[in-house]
């Protein structure tokens, strides 16, 4: 465990330094209180106070269009090479909810059979977390799933304490960055106390957003399979798939072949898909195993609060609130949970 | 002229022009009977369809009149719309619109010079045989075309049916790196442009002369007027845009779904040649040099030379575009001017009732849009006069003079000469059939 500090006025130097070594991605403002992770080269481009970006950092871990195979079918052969494409990069300013999202994806893709494309790419990305001192907005439910505080999963972790950041150095890669950039100073007790004060304040601010003991959630879902709540959601849902696109743990994909004009060579790519699209579970015979939006919505929620708890002992909802924020139909995660709770008592 | 010649020329679905047109020529015993350019494009009733739509949709819809001059329609439409609702665009907006218009003219001229005219001058039926015989030329043409396209993509999202150029300004303004990219594309293009000029100076244009009235935008400043200015003619006419109806004097002829136009004489011409004849002094010096090299003195009266005039304009557009971009690279773009329009639900742009005219020099000549809107910005009446419509009458008069002069060359040659004449005007027949006479009910 090692702590250092970075003076705020040195942030720019730090980022400039970093961006000389690798691509640096950080939250930037898109206007209208919308943010996105984009490449930056200066500290000033970064939105330090931001609410969760439109897309979570998963876009760097499992890109929207990802080549998995390059092939050549000359002379009727099926020649191929399995490949991975990646950028070495540093992600700066990742909130605790998104760190948890990445941890969830790690669990899925390193579960056997392992997904090497994901794992190789993940190992090329350095993660610098950033603590939230307050709620992003009313859609967040990070306390419910205990993500308002860091639970690992980063190389460095920044806590904004006024005119300096307290930085937790968690890995060898993190250590390396510290020594390479030469802008950090040792942390002492005063710095640590300041963080304690912040954490104490945060305990006041962050309260479980939903009236249920988190341990009882899987149980709640067990009882809610036939709940009316799903049917109501089904009527309201547009099946646009925005909620899954923006979710840091949703990882369903489709596989497609792209072919070059010679009609012989090309690549096999995987693309983000969404269980909310009507054709997602349709099979060739015409049978559709989740024909109605209600069933698809239920599936989405169960994939956050029930199935992964059984399988991996962790929630796949990180509390980031993106699905609620993005949904045109105003389908709100906290509201859905509240409705389920209300119905079950 | 040989005496007893009989000739019946009917070129149906004239190729290598925009839209559908037929040439009809009848010669009986050496004397010319019918001699027409029929416009047979299926009418699409744009001005009828526009009624009841929001003025903020006008540019989106009228851009679809013609894929080749979509940016031109869009710009003229925006000008008319802003005039109608009394909106004054910012200087930055005007400058970027000028840039867009340059791109439009450049793109269209290159397409016309290489894909539509060059095959005639090189003696092949189309562009595709050239892939074998003149591969480098073809590649250069496609490369230049692609560059035009790419700069348009950067500025307005795409060349065909521009996205971000709307009433009020731009929904997305170029960033620093966008300006850089456009600058690089255009400066890189200079090499190809020089070679194009080189190629053009070796081509032989058919000889034929007919002096006519030349109509285009004119202005009192030193800028080659394309986006702004009054209407003027080589016969000394000068009028405000608002009075465009007096100038075009449209009349319907039965054989054509396009309307004919005349001003001081039996017909007039508009387009690159007319612009050069009116405003050559104001060209960028580099373009002036090219004009000189191609033999331009004070006026060209050979309609086939419209292609040469286009070439001169290409050079002008490249150079002036680079100048505009460099200005903004220095000064920086004010991104706060980005507009969010849609149907103007957020009332970002104030609206009032009015009647507005847009007149913009598009590749083929002066293009008029005219809208009358009510207090909510709903279109009551719309009118649009396309350069090709204005030119058709002039083309027919050219044909009438040309046919007797070359009658003895035989039907095949005459047909080709006529096709080439029509093509030289770069007619956009899809446009011409889309807007016709409209009675403004007062």
């Amino acid at each position: 465990m090692k702590y250092v500090i970075l003076k705020k006025n040195k942030l720019d130097e730090f980022i400039v330094n970093l961006s000389k070594q690798k691509k640096v991605m950080a939250p930037v403002s898109k206007g209208y209180n919308n943010y996105a992770f984009e490449e930056v080269t200066r500290g000033g481009q970064i939105a330090l106070k931001y609410i969760p970006t439109i897309l979570p950092p998963k876009k760097y871990f499992m890109p929207q269009y990802e080549t998995v195979v390059e092939y050549d079918t000359k002379d009727g052969k099926q020649n191929m090479e399995a490949i991975v494409e990646y950028d070495e990069m540093i992600l700066f300013g990742v909130h605790t909810c998104d760190l948890a999202g990445i941890q969830s994806l790690n669990v899925v893709f390193s579960d056997r059979p392992k997904d090497l494309n994901y794992i190789i790419r993940k190992n090329k990305i350095i993660l610098i977390g950033l603590e939230c001192n307050d709620y992003c907005d009313e859609h967040a439910s990070c306390k419910l799933v205990n993500n308002e505080l860091p639970n690992g999963g980063y190389d460095l972790f920044f806590t904004d304490l006024g005119d300096f950041f307290l930085v937790h150095v968690n890995t060898w890669e993190g250590e390396n960055l510290i020594s390479l950039t030469k802008v950090f100073e040792p942390a002492d007790d005063i710095h640590m106390k300041k963080r304690e004060k912040l954490r104490a304040k945060k305990r006041e601010i962050f309260k479980n957003e939903v009236k249920i003991n988190p341990d009882q959630i899987p149980d709640l879902f067990d009882r809610s399979h036939n709940s009316k709540v799903w049917y109501k959601l089904g009527e309201r849902c547009l099946s646009c798939g925005n909620c899954t696109n923006v979710c840091p743990t949703c990882h369903c994909f489709d596989v497609e072949d792209e072919i070059n004009l010679d009609l012989k060579t090309g690549k096999r790519i995987r693309i983000w898909d969404s269980c909310q699209h009507e054709s997602f579970a349709k099979v060739a015979g015409g049978e559709n195993f989740r024909r109605k939006a209600a069933g698809r919505q239920r599936h989405r929620y169960f994939r956050k609060f029930k199935y992964p708890v059984d399988k991996f002992s962790r929630y796949f909802c990180t509390g980031c609130g993106r699905c609620s924020r993005t949904c045109m139909a105003d389908i709100r995660l906290k509201e859905t949970l509240d409705d389920l709770i209300k119905e079950s008592i | 002229m040989s005496k007893k010649v009989n000739m019946n020329i009917k070129v149906e679905y004239l190729t290598r022009v925009e839209g559908h047109g037929n040439i009809v020529v009848n010669v009986k015993d050496g004397s010319l009977g019918a001699c027409r350019l029929d416009i047979v494009e299926a009418p699409r009733f744009f001005e009828g369809m526009l009624r009841g739509r929001s003025i903020f949709e006008a540019q989106h819809i009228t851009s679809r009149i013609c894929g080749i001059c979509a940016c031109g329609h869009s710009l003229s439409s925006i000008q008319a719309a802003e005039d109608a609702i009394g909106f004054k665009p910012s200087q930055q907006t005007i400058d970027l619109r000028k840039l867009l218009l340059h791109y439009e003219i450049l793109d269209s001229h290159i397409l016309h010079i290489y894909l539509l005219v060059a095959p005639d001058l090189l003696g092949v039926p189309s562009f595709s045989p050239l892939i074998k015989t003149h591969n480098a030329v073809v590649r250069r043409a496609l490369r230049m075309k692609k560059t035009c396209n790419d700069v348009c993509d950067i500025l307005v999202g795409r060349h065909i049916h521009p996205i971000s150029s709307v009433v009020g300004g731009f929904t997305k303004l170029p960033r620093e790196k966008d300006l850089e990219a456009m600058h690089k594309h255009l400066t890189d293009m200079r090499v190809d442009m020089d070679e194009t000029v080189q190629l053009a100076s070796t081509l032989k244009f058919p000889e034929f002369d007919r002096e006519t009235e030349y109509v285009g935008l004119v202005s009192d400043d030193n800028e080659y007027p394309l986006l702004m200015g009054d209407i003027g003619s080589s016969d000394g006419v000068r009028m405000k845009k608002k009075d465009y109806k007096k100038i075009t004097n449209e009349f319907i002829v039965p054989h054509s779904s396009a309307k004919h136009a005349k001003l001081s004489r039996e017909s007039y011409a508009t387009g690159a040649l007319a612009r050069l004849n009116l405003n050559a002094k104001k060209l960028h010096p580099k373009a002036k040099k090219v004009a000189d090299a191609l033999g331009f003195k004070t006026k060209w009266t050979n309609p086939y030379l419209n292609t040469a005039a286009q070439l001169v304009e290409c050079v002008h557009c490249i150079e002036d575009s680079i100048a505009i971009i460099e200005r903004y690279q220095k000064k920086g773009i004010n991104h706060n001017e980005e507009v969010i329009v849609g149907l103007n639900e957020n009332k970002q742009i104030p609206v009032k009732a009015g009647n507005g005219v847009g007149a913009v020099e598009v590749p083929r000549g002066i293009l008029f849009h005219n809208y009358e809107v009510d207090k909510d910005g709903i279109i009551k009446n719309a009118n649009c006069i396309i350069p090709t419509n204005q030119n058709v009458n002039n083309i027919e008069h050219d044909m009438k003079k040309l046919v007797p002069e070359i009658l003895d060359k035989g039907q095949e040659k005459v047909t080709l000469a006529l096709e080439m004449l029509v093509r030289a005007y770069d007619p956009c027949i899809s446009c011409s059939a889309h807007f016709l006479d409209v009675k403004f009910v007062k």
């Binding site: 195979v69 099979v283 060739a284 049978e287 994939r303 199935y307 | -």
Partner: protein, 278 residues
């Protein structure tokens, strides 16, 4: 962007050569496939492979032959869309890509020593053929074997010659029924469930193995339960949309279960409380 070649990627395909093909019905075609150097596929009866044609795509296809068959394995494919139609155009000597085998097959160890009641509806005969052939190759390890087959019409019947042979064998009880009769057919007419009540079985020592279209399961299971077969003795194979075969893409998920990895073969006891499975 950097690029690296991955060894042992789950997306890697092995080359398979089509050794022979046979048009079985209007829409079903049979393919016999050999991997390079006749490397064994190493599958269990009931498993499937992802068959791949670069430039077209991939589809999960059941393995139709028993692992006891050496050198090659069989597929039987119905042309229903993009991939399957393209596959049908291939002929002897052509190459296809193979990934897998994937999933859990029929639990042959559990079945050994028991009586088998095999029910096949339509294309369901394809994975079951791998089991039937396995059982025939190891006939002594199994008790009484009954095969019930349901088809739309006699023309739709797959593996007709083999079926005739099963029919003739004295160590297998065989019945067949058609939804719609045709003039030459003099046997049973009706859905497959109509055959079950006539079967004489010892429920305690019988395993029922059922594969067919989704609607078949509900009715068949009801009949089997009525015959007192315990739900742990009813074995099913499910079909779902699948993209990866490695339990990641999400398409085949039924509640918490991934059909491609946890299945496609399940015991009814595992599924009966899972809504949407059957």
């Amino acid at each position: 962007m950097k690029r690296e070649i991955i060894r042992n990627s789950e997306f890697e395909v092995k080359k398979g050569r089509i050794v022979s093909t046979r048009q079985m019905t209007k829409i079903e075609k049979f393919f016999e496939i050999a991997l390079a150097d006749e490397e064994p596929l190493g599958h269990d009866p009931g498993q499937f492979v992802e068959v791949s044609l670069f430039g077209v795509g991939e589809a999960p296809i059941s393995i139709a032959s028993s692992p006891t068959k050496r050198g090659t394995f069989d597929l039987c494919v119905r042309a229903v869309g993009k991939f399957t139609n393209a596959l049908h155009k291939l002929k002897e000597g052509d190459e296809v890509g193979i990934r897998g085998p994937f999933g859990k097959g029929f639990p042959v160890q559990t079945l050994e020593g028991n009586d088998l009641l095999i029910l096949a509806g339509g294309l369901g005969i394809v994975p079951l053929r791998s089991l039937i052939d396995y059982v025939r190759a190891n006939r002594r390890d199994f008790g009484k074997v009954t095969i019930l087959l349901g088809c739309r019409t006699p023309k739709d019947m797959l593996f007709g010659d083999e079926v005739d042979e099963w029919n003739k064998r004295l160590d297998v009880n065989f019945s067949c029924t058609f939804d719609k009769a045709d003039p030459e057919w003099s046997g049973n007419v009706g859905v497959i469930t109509s055959l079950i009540p006539g079967v004489n079985l010892d429920p305690e020592h019988t395993y029922a193995v059922v594969v067919g279209p989704p609607i078949m399961y509900k009715f068949v299971i009801k009949e089997l339960l009525a015959k007192m077969i315990p739900d742990t003795h009813i074995i099913l194979s499910l079909e779902r949309h699948m993209k990866c075969g490695i339990g990641k893409c999400g398409h085949c998920q039924i509640q918490g279960i991934f059909c491609c990895q946890d299945g496609p073969v399940f015991k009814y006891s595992e599924l009966k409380n899972i809504k949407g499975a059957i």
